[in-house]
Amino acid sequence: MISEQLVDLSRLQFAATAMYHFLFVPLTIGMVWLLVIMESVYVMTGNVVWKDMTRFWGKLFGINFALGVTTGITLEFQFGTNWAYYSHYVGDIFGAPLAIEGLMAFFLESTMIGLFFFGWDRLSKPQHLLVTVLMAVGTNLSALWILIANGWMQNPVGAEFSYQTMRMEMTDFWAVLFNPDAQAKFVHTVSAGYVTGAMFVMSISSWYLLKKRDLAFAKRSFRVAAAFGLASVLSVIVLGDESGYTVGEAQQTKLAAMEAMWETKPAPAGLTLVASINEAEQKNDWEIEVPWVMGLIGTRSISKEIPGIHDIKAKNRERIVNGMVAVTALEALRTHRDDVVAKQVFEQNKTDLGFGLLLKKYVVDVSQATPEMINKAVNDTVPRVTPMFWGFRIMVGLGFAMLALFGMAFYSTLKSNFMEKPWLLRAALWMLPAPWIACELGWFVAEYGRQPWSIYGVLPTHLSVSTLSVNSLYGSLAGFIGFYTVLLLVEMFLMVKFARMGPGSLGTGRYQSEGKSALAAAHV
């Protein structure tokens, strides 16, 4: 049987690299639209401060892009090395959006980024604006294809298993493309990126305002970021609600774990705000609940029930037993292709094949599984509740805190009195890490909540992993973490350095920090 240490290390390596990668990604996704807004105003008004804003924030965007680019490639290494069985089993479907992303979106984005930075003196104003818009489109298309691939892992539609090739084969490309999970995930994730970009610009602008430097530049940047941030954070919350609904439809175990919902409650279920979770006894010792809300979010109705963990496990037990029949029939079919009875039995039970394969963690021959092994497999079907419950709540809490901040900031920009509110500027500065923490927690909830599956309901994680040596995994894990940590430190060093220099680093002669920045540049 496959070593649990191997599975855990492969998961840890993928999680670590993905989480590092996503420190860079949301800022790129979000800032690019702020650049579009700033440059559009410049093209429309001809006011050069807007060009300076585009160039300065574009410079920070460029640092982030240069440091972040290729950090995702190690994830693709791992599909081949650490997840070879996964790649065989679902590569026909999963590979398609990844390939399209590389060919279509990444090349568009990269080409336009080159033109953005080196085209200021070579392109007309509208041409350069078009480049910036295409750069934004490319960046967001890139996210779209990646999230279509990820959405399929959460809700594998438009495909079916072939016993001849022992893999999933695509039956409907459009179903994969318009997978509701992927679409909800895409809009939710890019909106979170927009919030990240807005918070970044607003925080640094607040610092300039607190320091009373480059005020015309900083005030405009603050206004744009506050308005864009408010619109984005509202989108994140509304689209997060849609994401919650799709999770409730396709991934009941994830929803139940996020809500620490052990028992099926009468419809419409209440939303648990906080709870003392007792995993050992599979119950909440106490909880504070808001009536109706969870039922409305999860089912969009007041009459549909949301199943609790105990009921889900009971259903999963049945599916595991059916899955054992499917696995046995598949073995028979693999030996005798013409076995009509085996084929019929397999066809009847193949939707539960993945559940039968969950037993491979405990027994070599699934048909020999004992009731105790089945119990263990049933328990595996629901991820640990405590990290899901609190991870989700911290993410949502940060989302609402950012809504309050952007709301107050936007209101103050309407009243033109944000300069008189240093507490607001300080709050904006200190909230800088919030969107990154929320994004990382969002991914944690999405991916940890998918366990024990690599493809939800289809392929268990422990069967996806390659049979590598544990030592090589320790080596590559250490290498990746070292590599990413260095990149992150360089990113932070350059970001802090150029943020401190401010628009004076453009060398236009229009900013009060000019002297300092020129001096600093001379000593770099």
Partner: protein, 60 residues
């Protein structure tokens, strides 16, 4: 492009080069030899009973 920008471009170019070298090093050290070939028979061996042989002439 002013002096600070030129220095930034140079630094970012170095970062990109070092990144590519490091990525190549990681690939060379840990990925290159880790070839796990999986076909239908290999997948069957992983997911079904080990030692379980597939029929001859199967489409891999």
């Amino acid at each position: 492009m002013n002096r600070a920008d030129q220095r930034l471009v140079k630094r970012l170019a170095w970062v990109l080069v070092i990144k590519l070298v490091l990525l190549y090093g990681l690939w060379w050290g840990f990925v290159r030899d880790q070839r796990v070939t999986v076909d239908a028979a290999g997948m069957a061996a992983q997911a079904l009973v080990p030692g379980f042989e597939t029929v001859k002439g199967e489409n891999k």
